[in-house]
């Protein structure tokens, strides 16, 4: 408190005694509306403490008479979300993949669910846009190692490739060089021939020799004409897409050491309706057959 009150000459109002650069603050009373708002806020806060969780105690906190809890609210929201999904999930569970595709409402739900599940589970290898990378197939294109139909994609996702699952997709490309099945020269010739299948120019004599090597060692799986056999996961060698690179040395390495990518099986980790949604999503990316 100031020793004695000072009255401002101009306004006749008492000052607070505070002074900044010669400017003195008048001790005007607070406006009434402001005071009343303040009182209401005080009352409000007390009611709030009574109604809502507010004060920490030694063992927990005051729960409030309404028993509100954010965790409960989230739980209720999640349950409501699940309940809203239930109709669609039941329908997807009961329907064949082709039927879901023919039903715009179900399809919209399945694609949305598939997109999320893809980002959670598949994107680490196949990429956020399913664009793939070396060794991990691009799912947007029309080249499928194990088939691009709905049922083929479903089977691949569910049972995986070269996994421990009993029903896994399984095939093995021999290590023609490492296991000394072919001489290095033969490997080079075979690579030349394989590249010539997609119109790549090369030494004619080497290609001719490679053709014989191919017929003996490769055609069983990759087909007489090199167009691949989806049931064996044997890639088409005639197209423009190369999972492990299209340079001469890339192809030679593939023949020498063999290839065999692994994709985990999702059976038992994702439920069947989600695998169906994933299938439809992957199929919709533009390459589905």
């Amino acid at each position: 408190m100031a020793e004695k009150t000072e009255i401002d000459d101009v306004t006749g109002v008492e000052t607070t005694g505070h002074e900044w650069d010669g400017i003195k603050e008048l001790n005007n009373p607070l406006p009434r509306w402001w005071l009343w708002t303040f009182y209401v806020c005080v009352i409000w806060s007390v009611l709030y403490w009574i109604v809502y969780p507010a004060w920490p105690t030694m063992t927990g906190y005051t729960k409030g008479i309404w028993g509100y809890s954010q965790r409960q609210a989230v739980k209720a929201d999640l349950a409501a979300g699940k309940a809203a999904q239930a109709k669609f999930l039941t329908a997807i569970e009961a329907s064949e993949l082709d039927d879901i595709r023919g039903n715009p409402e179900l399809m919209r739900f399945a694609l949305a669910g598939g997109r999320t599940a893809f980002a959670d589970n598949c994107a680490p290898c196949h990429g956020r846009g399913a664009e793939g990378t070396r060794g991990y197939p691009n799912l947007n294109d029309d080249d499928w190692l194990w088939g691009g139909s709905l049922s083929a994609i479903y089977e691949t996702i569910r049972y995986g490739i070269r996994t421990t699952h009993d029903d896994t997709r399984l095939s093995d490309m021999p290590k023609f060089g490492a296991d000394e099945i072919l001489e290095p020269g033969q490997i080079k010739d075979a690579a030349n021939f394989v590249l010539s299948l997609s119109g790549r120019p090369g030494d004619a004599a080497s290609i001719a020799r490679g053709k014989a090597v191919y017929a003996d060692h490769c055609s069983t799986c990759h087909g007489e004409d090199g167009s691949g056999i989806a049931a064996l996961g044997a890639p088409n060698l005639k197209d423009a897409l190369w999972l492990f690179g299209s340079r001469q040395e890339d192809v030679e390495t593939s023949i020498r050491t063999g290839r065999g990518g692994v994709m985990p099986h999702w059976d038992g980790r994702l439920d069947d309706t989600l695998i169906k949604q994933l299938t439809l999503f992957v199929h919709s990316l533009g390459g589905g057959q």
Partner: protein, 495 residues
């Protein structure tokens, strides 16, 4: 405003012992509101105010009931703010949420008009047309109907709580609440089909939000129009403070002609009018004022320029046989001119009013042009960002796009989608088999989102010299061949 006694200031005219609520000596911090009992007044401006009240309230209450046929299954309310479908319907006009700038334009126009009117004739908006003024006027009229005019109301307020006071006050407040409910109720009708909503209200089946807003607007009408009245204008409304900047020396303002009125004082029958002013200090101007102020103090923040004091003073001037318009619409330059005995002509056309008028005209033209060229088709193209392109097994390159077609007409329209500026492009639409050359139907009043795959064949790929090639999607409405072009680009691997 204690009224101890009245005395005669001129034959047959009593002086009211009253002080303006904003009189300097009565100003203090923490002053509670001084009750104002506006006295009934008759005259041209009062009649004008009744007319404006009838018009504005009439439009407000009747507008939601006007019907306008838009076709089957469409709302037939002439003016409807339709939140569900995100659009504003006004007779033949339809404003979608993404066209909300029309509403902005309308508000700009309203502001400019307000500036212009204020520059010309002061607070015309405040005095006649502002909802606060109109509803307060209505509430005061109701109060006068139940409790009588000024003196009766003051007596009633001072009297103890007799049965008479109780029923008069109760009926006043009941009437106010009824008016408030009607006001709040009608406002809600602007947002939902009025007959339907009225039925829902009567059967207590209306949506909760409707009751909520009915409650809010009932409450605010009762509170602001019935109880707070002039305090809203003086303390809550920012507009009076802005308007000070809009007047100038040539604006017509409600003014007391000081040089004609002063010196004021009572006048006895037969006395000469020489060497004195025409003002007999009867304070009629103060008692009729809904703001409770004294216009003779000059221009004041509180004055809403409703001109009721002009009516009151003219009545007195007629009685005492002096010329009318001691209080009148006049300009600052004339008030000063009066002193020098020089009156200047009214200058309605001056830089300020020309500027407002030109701006008003410009914005109007802009809006008119916008409304006339309003498109009934919206097309948006979004290109895929990941992957940017997809190499296909035959060596061709495919890009993905999302095209959104918004059909704003109430009929299904067929569209053809083509790509312009790419060599031999092949378009396929997801979900539509063999879409190349086929037509895409967009249902009436709906948005269709299409996934589009665009492929440039391997044989043509050499014609794309760089990684990115710009081209246009052309969406053609086959009904009238109107085209919409949207630019985007096509990406390929490094050539």
């Amino acid at each position: 405003m204690a009224e101890a006694h009245t005395r005669e200031v001129a034959p047959g005219i009593e002086r009211h012992d009253v002080a303006a609520v904003n009189a300097e000596q009565t100003r203090q911090l923490y002053a509670s509101r001084q009750a104002i009992y506006p006295k009934r007044v008759k005259g041209d401006f009062r009649n004008l105010k009744w007319l404006v009240m009838a018009l504005t309230l009439g439009v407000y209450y009747i507008l939601p009931w006007i019907r306008w046929d838009r076709g089957a299954n469409l709302p037939d309310q002439a003016f409807l703010i339709d939140f569900t479908n995100q659009r504003i319907l006004f007779f033949g006009l339809e404003i979608w949420a993404q066209e909300f700038y029309y509403v902005t334009g309308l508000l700009v126009l309203a502001s400019l008009l307000l500036f212009l009117v204020t520059a010309l004739a002061g607070r015309v908006w405040c005095g006649y047309a502002c909802p606060q003024t109109v509803w307060t006027d209505l509430m005061v009229a109701v109060e006068r109907f139940w409790q009588g005019d000024r003196n009766a109301r003051m007596r009633l307020d001072k009297s103890p709580w007799t049965f008479e006071k109780i029923w008069k006050k109760t009926l006043t407040h009941i009437s106010w609440v009824v008016i408030s409910i009607a006001t709040g109720g009608v406002l809600v009708f602007y947002f939902r089909d009025a007959p339907t909503l009225l039925g829902e209200f009567l059967n207590f089946e209306a949506p909760t939000i409707a009751y909520l807003f009915l409650g809010i607007f009932t409450g605010t009408t009762y509170l602001l129009g019935g109880l707070a009245r002039e305090q809203v204008c003086t303390y809550m409304c920012p507009w009076p403070r802005i308007q000070g900047a809009l007047f100038d020396r040539d604006s017509l303002l409600v003014t007391y002609r000081q040089n004609r009125g002063e010196p004021r004082g009572p006048h006895k029958k037969g006395e000469s009018w020489d060497d004195r002013g025409d003002c007999i200090d009867c304070k009629q101007c103060v008692v009729v004022c809904p703001m409770g102020i004294d216009i003779r103090e000059g221009a004041q923040l509180e004055c809403i320029q409703c001109a009721l004091c002009i009516d009151a003073c003219n009545g007195i001037m007629d009685k005492i046989g002096r010329p009318q318009n001691l209080i009148t619409y006049d300009t600052y330059s004339n008030i000063e001119g009066d002193v020098d005995e020089v009156r200047s002509d009214l200058r309605l056309i001056r830089p300020r009013t020309i500027l407002y008028s030109v701006l008003f005209l410009l914005v109007s033209l802009l809006m008119a042009y916008g409304l006339m060229s309003k498109s009934v088709l919206d097309v948006n193209v979004l290109r895929d960002r990941n992957p940017l392109y997809v190499l296909l097994s035959d060596g061709s390159v495919r890009n993905g796009y999302t095209i959104k077609i918004l059909n704003k007409l109430y009929q299904t329209r067929m569209f053809r989608i083509e790509a312009e500026g790419l060599p031999d492009p092949v378009i396929s639409v997801v979900g539509i088999e063999d879409a190349d050359g086929k037509l895409i139907a967009v249902p009436s009043d709906d948005l269709r989102i299409l996934r589009i795959y665009l492929k440039v064949p391997y044989s043509e790929l050499d014609k794309l010299k760089s990684e990115t090639t710009d081209f246009n999607f052309v969406v053609t409405d086959i009904r009238d061949n109107t085209r919409v072009r949207r630019g985007t680009n096509f990406r390929r691997q490094k050539p």
